[in-house]
Structure formats: C-alpha cells, structure tokens
C-alpha cells in the first residue's frame, strides 16, 4: 500500500479508534460468573471445608475476593478443619455485569476508574484499531508500472533511460552522514579568538607552564601576600615540588621593597614581605603570570620595542563549583606595551577586538584589580536579554609592577581578559559547563555543533 501511496495511485488517510475488549479470562467470567461469585455459589448452607473449596479451579482467587467483599466467613475452629460459610443471603456479581456491558459494546456506561480496575485484573484490555481509508489518487490507474530507483551506466549507454519512470527522491529523509572528525566547540572558539588576535598583530605568548611560582603569579604583579586570593580557598598549592627557586635576585629585591616600603612614587603596602611565601608553587590562577614573565624579559632588552602579546590557555582556581564554574578553565588575555598609551587607547583596542566578535555596543565600568589602575569591566548590550552583560575585564598595569621590572617610565601596558568557556557556552547554547568540558562532555553536542563564526 505504501508504494502505491507514494506514487499517488491512491491516497490514504490514517484513522485510529480505540475500544475495550474482554480478555480470555474476562470472557470466561462473563459466561460463568466471577471467581468470587462462583465461590459463593458453591457453598451449601452447611458450609464447605476450606480445603475442599481450594480444590475448585476458581477457589483460590475467588476465596480472597469473596472474603474482602464480606460475602463469606471462615470458622477456623470448626471441627473437621476450617470451614467456610456464607454471610449473606445473596450477592450481586458486579464484576460479571460490568464485563457483560463491555461485551455488548456498552463500555461507555462504565466509568474510567472501573474500566482501569478491570484492566488491572487482566479482564479487560483497551484495543487500538488503525485503519486506512483509501480513495483513488491523482495518478490512479489499474496497471502498475515499476519505477526505477537509480540511473545506471547501462541505461545511459543504451538510451533506455528516456522511457523509464524514476522514483522521485524522498527529500523528507536525511542523507548519508559523511564520515568525518569533529573539533570540540571550545577548540573551535579558541581558533577564532586566536585568529582575531593574529589579525590585530598580536604575538602568541608561550604559556606551556601550568605550574607557576607565587612570585610570578602574585608578587611581581604587586598583589600583596595577605591578599585573600592567595588563600587555600582560592588557589591550589603544590606539595611536590613545593617551592620554586632561581629568581632573578635583584628584581626580587626590588619587588620586596615596593611591597614592604614603597618607592617608584608609591606608598607601598607596608607589611613584612617574605620570600618563603613567594617561593610557594601553585597551579597558576591566571595567564597574567606569563604576561609578567614576558614583560620582565622585554624590560631586559637593550632598547625598548613596543609589543602586542596574547595567550589563550588553562588556569586553575579553587572556587565553589556550580553549573557555570569548574576548578579549571581557559583564560584569554591580550597585552599591549608601548610609550604613552592612554585609557582611551585601551577602550579603542577593546572596541576593535569586540567588533570582530560582532559586539559593537560597549560600556565601561570602574572596577578594581590589585595589579591594574585604572581597571574597567567591559559590558556589552545583549539584544535578547535586553540588558548589559559583562564580557570582560581590563586595565592599565600599575607602575609598582612595571617599574621594578626596569621598563622605561613612559611605557604604559594595557591588558584585558575574558574566559573562553563563557562565550562558547553562549554561542552553542550550553547551560551546564560539565556538558562542555571534562569527561562528561556531551559527544552528540560535539558531533552536531556548527562552524564557529563569532561575528554572528
């Protein structure tokens, strides 16, 4: 029928109807009465021993049902063994009556509840009947011509294709999926960001060190040793190897001084800076540690040259885990070092960067970072949510960080950062970060995720 339907010889309409039917057991009861009624019927006035009753085919089921309906009673202490007696004169076999109703086609007279109860006892079942109403189709004929499914080289060679009828393609079905590999969405988004940085002339920083010393991760960035971020609650410390060594000694002394006494125009933090604290190894909390190393290296050059650096790599924070936060994630960072850069320049470069992501409406909010001043949170307008959402953090590195390194005084360094996971989750509509990252990744999502075009 389906093949006739598909070539429009006929048109078919699917109809389905439901009705109730008696099961085998149900039919038996309709004829002979329910088990419990038959139990009742088989008890003479003087009663019947329970053991005899149980020998009857309907005995077991009927007995318990008749007991619960209070039609019979058992005298357990009777001589000759437990004896079953009638408790009422007559009974109404409701079960049988209901089944008879259904048998005669009057099932609508019963309530749903009653029908479901009988269904539970396996006396009734609901049957769905599917039927097709067939009428003549638009191409009706009484002969059937076989349709070809495929064009073959022989047909072309012989020219016989001109007389053949071909089965139309079924465009409703999906085609054969090509065998291919898939990139993880995070990697796709990473590639896009990397592309954006390279287009803007940024050089990639070598970030292949997850392990960092507190010195480079915090102290060189002018983050004080008492800062809460350096707590056990926020940072992962190492037990092995526990301490770093080989610091550039005179630079370390300058860092110590600016923290504890001030200098370079600063009051400093005025606390006792300890080298033991700086030596502690950690899993880096930001890739800004790498930026610090790169800037220090830059400062050791004979002559200063302006630079633009970027990095996209993994960082680790000992934070509360929830649907959008894991202990490790990827940070995207951009850094520009040149003479005479202004806050306006930072905004300009942020505009250029975010425009490449398709974000043109930006707003800046004063913020606080221990190592930048001024600091700005970057907000963009989300058309869907109709509100401003934070898209990144930025700032101008403090002189207390740059001057001890040896960078010239008129050099300003501007920087900004954001996470990789957040734009990926927004782009691919993923709400739980565990579906994106880690072994519980949703592979189907990876197979199905589209090309990453960040500007749309």
């Amino acid at each position: 029928m389906t093949s006739c339907w598909s070539v429009q010889l006929i048109s078919a309409e699917l109809r389905s109807s439901k009705h109730w039917e008696l099961s085998g057991e149900g039919t038996e009861i309709a004829e002979q009465g329910s088990h419990e009624a038959r139990v009742f019927g088989s008890i003479p006035p003087q009663g019947l021993t329970q053991s005899d009753l149980m020998k009857l085919s309907f005995g077991k089921i009927g007995f318990s049902k008749a007991m619960s309906s209070k039609w019979i009673r058992v005298d357990k202490a009777h001589e000759g063994g437990p004896r079953v007696f009638r408790t009422v004169e007559s009974i109404e076999d409701q079960v049988r009556e209901k089944l008879l109703l259904v048998q005669r086609g009057n099932s609508s007279q019963l309530e749903e509840k009653e029908k479901n109860e009988l269904k539970k006892r396996k006396l009734l079942s609901e049957v769905t009947v599917k039927s097709y109403w067939i009428t003549k189709g638009s191409s009706f004929s009484t002969t059937i011509t076989k349709q070809e499914t495929e064009l073959t080289p022989e047909m072309i060679a012989s020219g016989s294709w001109k007389e053949k009828k071909f089965k139309p393609y079924n465009f409703q079905a999906m085609g054969v999926a090509p065998d291919c590999g898939h990139m993880h969405p995070l990697m796709k988004v990473r590639t896009q960001f990397r592309q954006i940085f390279l287009e803007m002339g940024f050089t990639e920083m070598p970030t292949n060190n997850f392990i960092e010393s507190s010195f480079w991760n915090f102290d060189s960035l002018f983050q004080p040793q008492q800062h809460p971020a350096r707590d056990q609650h926020d940072t992962f410390f190492l037990s092995d190897p526990a301490l770093a060594h080989d610091f550039p000694q005179d630079y370390l002394e300058r860092v110590k001084k600016v923290h504890s006494e001030g200098g370079y125009g600063s009051q400093g933090y005025k606390y006792a800076w300890k080298v033991e604290e700086a030596q502690k190894n950690i899993l880096r909390t930001h890739t800004t540690a790498v930026s610090a190393r790169m800037l220090y290296k830059l400062a050791q050059q004979e002559k200063f040259t302006p630079v633009k650096y970027f990095s996209i790599d993994r960082v680790f924070r000992n934070e509360t885990l929830d649907a959008t936060h894991l202990a490790e994630f990827h940070q995207i960072e951009g850094v520009v070092a040149d003479r005479g850069l202004t806050l306006g320049d930072l905004m300009g470069i942020l505009h250029a960067f975010f425009t490449k992501l398709g974000i043109t409406k930006l707003r800046f909010k004063p913020a606080y970072n221990p190592y930048t001043e001024p600091s700005m949170e970057v907000f963009s307008y989300h058309e869907g949510l109709k509100k401003w959402v934070e898209v990144g953090n930025s700032g101008v590195f403090r002189p207390e960080m740059l001057l001890p390194m040896g960078l010239p005084e008129d050099v300003s360094v501007i920087a900004w950062g954001l996470s990789l996971e957040r734009p990926t989750m927004i782009k691919y509509g993923i709400n739980n970060i565990r579906e994106l990252v880690g072994h519980k990744v949703n592979l189907q999502m990876v197979y199905d995720s589209p090309v990453c075009r960040l500007e749309s």
């Binding site: 050089t203 300009g348 001043e373």
Partner: protein, 531 residues
C-alpha cells in the same frame, strides 16, 4: 567583591531624595558600584530556609550593593551616602579631626611584652557623646563584621572590639595569659568561663568556630583588662558581656588588636570616621594613648591627611583627555580627594583623607579623575603600535614514550576532590573516562586529544614543565588496532617522518604487562627529536 546590604528607604532618606531602581543602578554604575540585588529579609529567609520560616520576617526593601574590594570607606550606609553625596556635589567631604579630651587625660591602653608571642599590636580611640538608634547600632555592628571579613582577613590580621566606656575604667592593659588563667563572662552568656572552656564552648558556634584556630594552640591568649580587672575582651574571639554596647551607650571605647599594625590603623580610622558622624561634635574623635612594652607612646587614631602633588598634564596624558587644571581639581574633589590648583604651572595639590587608604600612588588619583569625568565620556582612540604577529610553533612531539614507568608527577597540596590530587602526566585516563561516560553513543567512538601534561623537571625554576601530548582512542566491538596504527602512520606522514628503523619511527612491543582490556602495549620510538 564585598556586598553591603542597606535598607533602601533609609538610604534614600540619607541621600535626600528617592530614586527608581534604574536611576540608582545607573548612579552605582558611574561610581564603580554594582546594584547586585533588590530583595528583603523575608525573601532571603524564604529562599534559604523555606517560605514557612519567613513569615515573621521583615518586608523592608534591601539593596545589596557590590563594592570594590579596596574601598573600606564604602562598606556601610554612612560611607556610601557620604561618598555618593560628595560625588553628586550635594555636600563637601567632612573633615575628620582627632581631639584631646575636654577634661582630664586621654584613655590609655598599655601593651605588655607577653603579647609579642601571639598578637603584638594594638590601637585605640574614643567616640564621645555618641547617640545610637537601632539602625545606627545595627550599622555599627555590621561594619565591624564586614571589616573583619575583608581587610582583617577573617580577624587573623586585625580584630575590633567596641565597649561602653561608662561601664569600665582605664587605664587598660593589653596582655597575654595562659588560657586557664583567663576567666570572664563573655558576651550574651550568663556565667563566667575560663578561656579553655570557651574554646570548647564555641567549637559548635557557627559564627565563632572559624576564629578559634587563630589563638587555640598558643601558650598564651590575648586579653584586655580595665583597671579593676574587668575583662573587656579576649581578642580575636569574643568581648566581655560587662562592657557591651547598647542603644543607650553614650561613650564608646574602640580597640583593635593586630598582627599587622598598618592594617590596624586603617581599620580604626574606618570605624571612627564612619561613626563619629553621630557624636555630639560630629566627625571629631577623642584620642587615646597606646603604650608599648618598650615605653614608646603613640596617639590614635592617626586620621592622617596626606598631600600629594601631580600635574594635570599627567592626568590628561594617562587618561587620554584634555581638561583644564581647575576642572581636574574639581573632579577630584568630587571623589573625596580635595584638590587645589597651586598656581605653579599645571600643578594640583591633592589631599588624601584617612578614608582613602586605597590611594597609594598617583595612578590611583588619576583613576579617580577619570571616574569623575566618566569612563564612558572618554573618547576612544586606536593605539598606533605597529607590530607583526608571531605564532608559537608546535614544538617537539614525543610519541608514546615512557609508558612502562609511571612518569614523575606533580602533587597538589589542597586538592578539591580525589580527582584533583596530581597534575596529569598522561592524556589516556581522560580519554578513557570520556569513553566510559559516553558509552551509549553509536560505535565506533574515535576520540583524540592534543594537550599538555605536567612533568616534574628539576632544571626549571618552578621544578615542573608542561609537555605537549597527542593521544587517540578507538573504541568498538572489535579492537581495531589497525585503525590507531593507521592514524599514527598518517600523523607521521604529515610530520614528514618515515616509517623506518633508525632515521624515522617504528613500533615495538613494550615489555611488561598487557594493557587493560586485553589490548597490546606498544611503544613508538623516534630517533630524531625537535622540529
């Protein structure tokens, strides 16, 4: 970011006008604050403990405002209002003054040498003729809490104690004694306890148990007595009940004990600048003397006003604007940094008040000028920095080495979970876990990862390095080794490596156990390194 909860209507009364939520949100944004949440006590309890527990709670609207972590002067309603009023040119920043007592000697706090072992520093001050209302009292307590959590690093650096001066009499002694020798009735208790008993008592107190560790194992505990032997407090744990503050209190004695004296001074300055507003002579603080074990005397609170000179050219240059010296001086004054044009060229003299301990360098002043100007009013410019981009190349790829010996791993001291104990040294477990979690996917599963592992390396300054690895897994009903073999061959082909012993790569069986799951363990060796 610290969050301050203030009652909206109290806030508006103090500000002298009402705002819509959007207007206030806008004001916060400009000032560098964030209106995080609009809620009420009832809503909070409802959310945390269920609707039934919330039935008696207050409906009063609360604004939860996020404040930058370095602005200790914005941690209470009083400070917020003052900051915002000055920002909006509605008032001038008050001048805070330390004054001598009207009659008699200043209160004295004598530090003995025993404290050096546990908590060496202390500072003190007096708020004279203060008037508390329920709201002011609540705010007073809240600020201490916020400062404790924030700059005091959960009381480990500084602990604040406030006392009703009329219930005690100086001079006060700050000393340290063995716990068994300290006995007093602590706040909200009905009988006396020794310090040892208090340590056990507070082990189950949800608020105080977090601070016990600061002094618990020390041979002596800090304690402050008055001249009659009444215990004012046992810092940083608890104050004495005797000197507790009530709504009727008129004179307050504040003491801060600390391991960091700079922070102690900042904290004391914050407490007194915020609440001296409610003294009979507003914004005056009565001095107190602290005597050190070596006999040195210091007067507190410091309430120092520091002056710094900078040029308007510096500000204009760093921000990227072009404002006159007078305008910049006015903008800075709006930020509670009172400024004047000195007349010497474009020089501005800025006075940094005791409430702005966050200003430690000219760049902090410059940021405030930019904030007052309005970040979003600054024209943005494109830096002319010309650079050519470089990419980091794919460095040496070590194929499948060291599978027989467990490589030296880096260990985490405070792992979050058992899964976090070492930094991974191989990519294989991660891929296998991914396969295990995705078993329902149609087979075969072909997964790969190119990523870093971490290895111990004594030649590095941190003692460890990353190593880039490539790992692939094939999972199917049949093992399909030839698939992985083929992948390896293709990869080598793309890297221009020949399949040959000697100058190229080859595969050989590894000694030792078979790999789990009945697979074979192979090693691919390569003689040439470093591409």
């Amino acid at each position: 970011m610290p969050t301050v909860g203030v009652k909206r209507d109290l806030l508006f009364t103090a500000l002298g006008r009402t705002y819509t939520d959007e207007e206030f949100d806008e004001l916060c944004f400009e000032y560098g604050l964030e209106l995080d949440e609009i809620t009420s006590e009832k809503e909070i309890i409802s959310r945390e403990q269920g609707g039934s527990k919330a039935s008696g709670a207050s409906d009063v609207i609360l604004y939860k405002i996020d404040v930058p972590a370095n602005r200790y002067d914005l941690l209470c309603l009083e400070g917020l209002v003052r900051g915002l009023q000055v920002f909006m040119n509605k008032m001038e920043a008050p001048r805070y003054r330390r004054v001598r007592p009207v009659s008699g000697e200043p209160q004295r706090l004598v530090i003995t040498k025993e404290t050096a072992a546990v908590r060496p520093h202390a500072v003190a001050a007096v708020l004279r003729n203060i008037t508390f209302t329920q709201e002011r009292y609540d705010s007073f307590i809240e600020l201490q809490d916020k400062l404790h959590q924030n700059v005091c690093r959960k009381r480990s650096l500084v602990a604040i104690g406030t006392h009703d001066l009329d219930t005690i009499s100086g001079p006060f002694t700050y000393t340290a004694k063995p716990p068994g020798e300290i006995s007093f009735k602590p706040l909200n208790q009905t009988k006396e306890y020794t310090a040892t008993q208090l340590m056990s008592l507070y082990k189950t107190d949800s608020h105080l148990k977090h601070f016990l560790h600061i002094i618990e194992d020390k041979p002596v505990y800090p304690v402050i007595y008055d001249s009659n032997g009444v215990v004012l407090s046992m810092p940083p744990i608890i104050n004495g009940d005797h000197s507790k503050i009530s709504l009727e209190t008129k004179n307050v004695f504040i003491e801060c004990t600390a391991t960091d004296v700079t922070k102690a001074k900042i904290v004391l300055d914050m407490m007194v600048t915020m609440f001296s507003e409610y003294c009979a002579q507003p914004f005056t603080v009565e001095e107190a003397e602290v005597v050190y074990p070596d006999g040195k005397t210091c007067k507190y609170p410091e309430l120092a006003y520091r002056k710094e000179k900078l040029s308007s050219e510096f500000i204009n240059r760093k921000v990227g604007i072009n404002e006159s010296t007078e305008t910049l001086a006015r903008l800075l004054t709006k930020m509670c940094l009172r400024s004047e044009v000195t007349g010497a060229g474009d020089e501005i003299e800025v006075e940094i008040p005791p409430t702005r301990s966050d200003v430690i360098h000219a760049c902090d002043i410059m940021e405030d000028a930019a904030m007052a100007f309005g970040f979003n009013n600054i024209p943005y410019t494109t830096p002319l920095t010309y650079t050519v981009a470089h990419q980091v190349g794919v460095s040496s790829c070590t194929v499948g080495r060291a599978l027989t010996l467990a490589p030296p791993a880096v260990h985490i001291a405070n792992p979050k979970t058992a899964e976090f104990q070492v930094a991974r040294t191989t990519l294989l477990p991660g891929l296998l876990k991914t396969v295990a979690a995705n078993r329902k996917m149609p087979l075969p599963l072909k997964l790969f990862e190119i990523s870093d592992v971490v290895l111990k390396d004594e030649t590095k300054d941190v003692g460890a390095r990353n190593s880039r690895r490539f790992c692939a897994v094939y999972y199917n009903k049949s093992p399909g080794f030839e698939v992985i073999h083929g992948l390896l061959d293709r990869t080598m082909q793309l890297l221009e490596e020949k399949s040959a012993r000697g100058d190229g790569y080859h595969i050989q069986a590894a000694e030792g156990k078979k790999g789990g799951g009945g697979g074979w363990h192979f090693r691919a060796c390569r003689n040439s390194l470093n591409r």
